[in-house]
């Protein structure tokens, strides 16, 4: 259970999320995949917080929490993003009768 292991898990989660975000047709599935990516980042950040030396450790012990603070913000932003995202999804669903991204190609070329 080394630092690298956490990073690798995070990387795997991130890439699965990326794959999902790129390859799913349903917009909700894409949003879920994006959440996966955010979570993956959070795992890395917290792991770094635990294992690595903060630059200002000598001056300020609280810098060991930077990663966690970062994660808190990411979680919050993710929530906001999902809220807005779902708003757009509903609007899109109302006008398009579909949440399929391959059908949302009115504007192209």
């Amino acid at each position: 259970m080394s630092f690298e292991a956490f990073l690798i898990v995070s990387a795997v989660l991130f890439c699965i999320g990326l794959y999902g975000a790129l390859a799913r047709r349903n917009v909700l599935a894409v949003l879920m995949s994006i959440e996966l990516m955010f979570n993956a980042v959070n795992v890395s950040l917290v792991a770094m917080s635990k294992y690595l030396t903060p630059a200002a450790l000598q001056d300020d012990i609280s810098t060991v929490l930077t990663g966690q603070v970062f994660a808190v913000f990411i979680i919050t932003v993710a929530a906001a993003e999902i809220a807005l995202g779902l708003g757009i999804v509903f609007a899109m669903y109302r006008t398009n009768e579909s949440v399929d991204l391959t059908e949302a190609t009115l504007m192209r070329h």
């Binding site: 790129l22 390859a23 991204l101 949302a104 190609t105 192209r108 070329h109």
Partner: protein, 678 residues
């Protein structure tokens, strides 16, 4: 002593006449267009007087060097506008103003009623001014300037009846062909400027004609600036210009076509003066030419060949003016050949006499045309009964051309033949022999076609004139000829006959009186004109004193007369007694006749093969194709490429948002790879 202002005014008077007619008379007083004629004649009369004054002054050895006016400075040389007055100039001035004056008087009658009367006189004035400027020029660029102006005057006058397509085409042809020769002249000037530093080093101006003479003297104290092969090329460049203007083979093709102009124009420009400018040019630079045996050989051979070559075509022409045109080319060949052999004075002498009798011949042709409306000798005949004065004058002039004692042509042509036989040592002997033979043969041919022309025109029965011609050709009357349309067989009016008569007098007497062969006549010294000119040349070389002239040789006189008479006899024998007046006996010559009447196919070669086919279709066509398809096409292709590559890239824009995200992922990985590999 004649003053500078007087000499300048010889040139300026006709110029002023041109300006006055062009800017005042033509736009404002066109209804009174006769004024133009009088202005011109007045100006030329004065100019003639001044010219004679100048000639006298030169003959009295007055110092006539004047300070030139700076026109343009270029690097180490300046292009000046100045006066170079030597015997050659003086003689030419008189010839030009004299012939011009007579022709202008003649034109009063000939051009009467033409709607563009003023324009005609304006052009004529411009021409005369240019020609005089050319003669007076002291600077080679100045000479070139007037040389070109003379060319453009000729262009304007040939194309005077511009509504006749043939006239417009002939004008263009004349200008372009002479311009080809002028390129040589221009390159010679460029070469001189290229040596300007060397000139400047010894205090000379590369453009100043006397300085060029001086620079070409190998024995000059200052040392030769010009020499060797360069001198030959320089001389040949100048000669190229001369060839163009004087219609020497192979640049002769324009001159016969130039007969599309009004006949007085032909008389003045294409017989007496402008075409002689080539001879004048070679003479002007004779001190340069004579130091290159190679150049002299070329000049002599070209002249000799042209003399016989043009004469041969004159044999078969039906158009009276064309006969004379070829005759002119041929006679110019004599002069050029003479210069090539080193016979400076005889060449100019011949120029002078030729100016008189050839102008007369042309004016005679104009007179005939005035009566018959045509120039085609096949529709003339028997005119001697209706226009006796013209007949007599034309016969006199014709015999002068042939060289019959004691008419003017005899004396001058004999000098040339004699000089060719004797040689001057400037060229190899074989050149002398070849030239002499050609010129002698030329005498026979000249005699033949002259007599043929006289017989066809004046003897036999009248064959219908322009009316008959139109009937046979069934075509619309040429617009410009309308004024002379009808056939009214009678002698020309006085204003036309008077100048002819004066020229006739000159054609009879000029030869002997200008150059008395044995002793002083009427106060004119023995060998006056040749001696005068030869002295001038000596002065140009930097030598003082009197120069050698040729003494009359009975032997040569006999030989040339026999040759002339044999030609005359042959012509009389063939034409005068022929049974069918409409037939052309020379047609019996078969393919030779065809060759001659097609002018050796040279026009075809030039116009159809060289210009139309090779130049226009092949070269210009190819370049045009390249321009439209390759150069332009490349541009269009690039444009097309950019437009379409944009569309192609736009194809990735599928509208599906994840494709865009994939683009981002791809971008990230591409950057990683690129940086790793970089």
């Amino acid at each position: 002593m004649v003053s500078q202002a007087v000499i300048w005014s010889i040139f300026l008077l006709p110029l002023a006449s041109f300006v006055l007619i062009a800017l005042v008379v033509r736009p404002l007083l066109n209804r009174y267009s006769m004024i133009s004629g009088f202005i011109t004649i007045g100006a030329l009369g004065t100019a003639l007087g001044f010219s004679i004054w100048t000639l006298r002054s030169v003959a009295l050895h007055h110092d006539l060097t004047f300070e030139p006016v700076k026109w343009l400075s270029v690097g180490n040389a300046t292009i000046d506008m100045g006066l170079l007055v030597d015997p050659l100039t003086a003689v030419m001035l008189v010839v030009v103003t004299g012939v011009s004056l007579l022709v202008q008087i003649y034109s009063l009658g000939y051009m009467q009623g033409d709607p563009s009367f003023s324009r005609y006189y304006a052009y004529m004035s411009l021409f005369t001014a240019s020609m005089l400027g050319l003669v007076l020029a002291s600077n080679i660029v100045q000479l070139y300037v007037f040389w070109e102006l003379v060319g453009v005057s000729s262009y304007l006058l040939i194309g005077f009846w511009h509504e006749r397509p043939a006239a417009a085409a002939a004008a263009k042809k004349a200008f372009i062909i002479t311009r080809i020769g002028d390129v040589g002249f221009l390159i010679a000037i460029l070469y001189l400027f290229g040596r300007a530093d060397d000139f400047a080093a010894i205090g000379l101006n590369a453009f100043h004609i006397p300085d060029i003479w001086q620079a070409a003297q190998p024995q000059a104290a200052l040392g030769a600036v010009l020499g060797g092969a360069a001198l030959t090329w320089l001389a040949l460049g100048i000669f190229a210009g001369a060839m163009g203007k004087s219609g020497q083979f192979p640049l002769h093709a324009w001159l016969p076509d130039a007969m599309e102009g009004p006949t007085p124009v032909s008389a003045l420009i294409h017989a007496a003066t402008m075409v002689a400018a080539g001879v004048f040019l070679v003479a002007r630079f004779f001190p340069v030419f004579e130091h290159s045996a190679d150049a002299m050989t070329v000049v002599a051979l070209v002249g000799a060949f042209t003399a016989i070559f043009a004469a041969s075509m004159g044999l078969v022409m039906n158009d009276i003016k064309r006969v004379m045109a070829y005759s002119t080319v041929s006679q110019l060949g004599y002069m050029i050949a003479a210069l090539g052999l080193g016979l400076y004075a005889p060449a100019i002498f011949h120029l002078v006499t030729h100016a008189a009798f050839k102008a007369l011949l042309f004016l005679g042709a104009g007179s005939v045309n005035h009566a018959t409306g045509t120039f085609d000798m096949r529709y003339m005949g028997g005119l001697r009964r209706h226009m006796p004065i013209t007949y007599i004058l034309v016969v006199v002039a014709g015999l002068a051309l042939v060289g019959i004692v004691p008419l003017a042509g005899f004396w001058s042509k004999d000098e040339i033949l004699l000089g060719a036989w004797n040689g001057t040592g400037l060229v190899d002997t074989w050149v002398n022999r070849v030239t002499f033979s050609a010129l002698l043969a030329g005498v026979i041919v000249t005699a033949f076609y002259t007599v043929r022309m006289i017989i066809l025109t004046f003897h036999g029965d009248f064959r219908g004139g322009i009316e008959k011609e139109l009937e046979e050709k069934a075509q619309a009357a040429p617009a410009g000829a309308a004024g002379h349309g009808g056939v009214h067989l009678h002698e020309s009016p006085f204003v036309m006959v008077l100048p002819m008569a004066l020229l006739g007098i000159a054609a009879v007497t000029l030869g002997y009186l200008a150059n008395p062969q044995w002793d002083e006549q009427l106060g004119i010294p023995k060998h006056w004109i040749t001696g005068f000119l030869a002295d001038g040349l000596g002065a140009a070389r930097g030598l003082g004193g009197h120069s050698e002239t040729l003494d009359f040789s009975f032997g040569m006189a006999v030989v040339s007369t026999v040759a002339a008479l044999s030609g005359i006899g042959l012509a009389i024998g063939i034409y005068l007694k022929r049974r069918d007046q409409r037939a052309e006996p020379l047609e019996k010559l078969g393919s030779v006749y065809t060759l001659l009447s097609n002018k050796y196919y040279i026009d075809t070669l030039y116009e159809d093969v060289a210009v139309r086919k090779w130049f226009f279709r092949v070269i210009a066509g190819t370049l045009d194709w390249i321009d439209r398809n390759l150069v332009d096409g490349t541009v269009d292709l690039i444009g097309w490429f950019f437009r379409n590559i944009g569309t192609a890239i736009g194809r990735f824009q599928t509208g599906q948002v994840q494709a865009y995200a994939t683009g981002i992922a791809f971008g990230v990985l591409a950057i990683i790879l690129a940086l790793l590999l970089a």
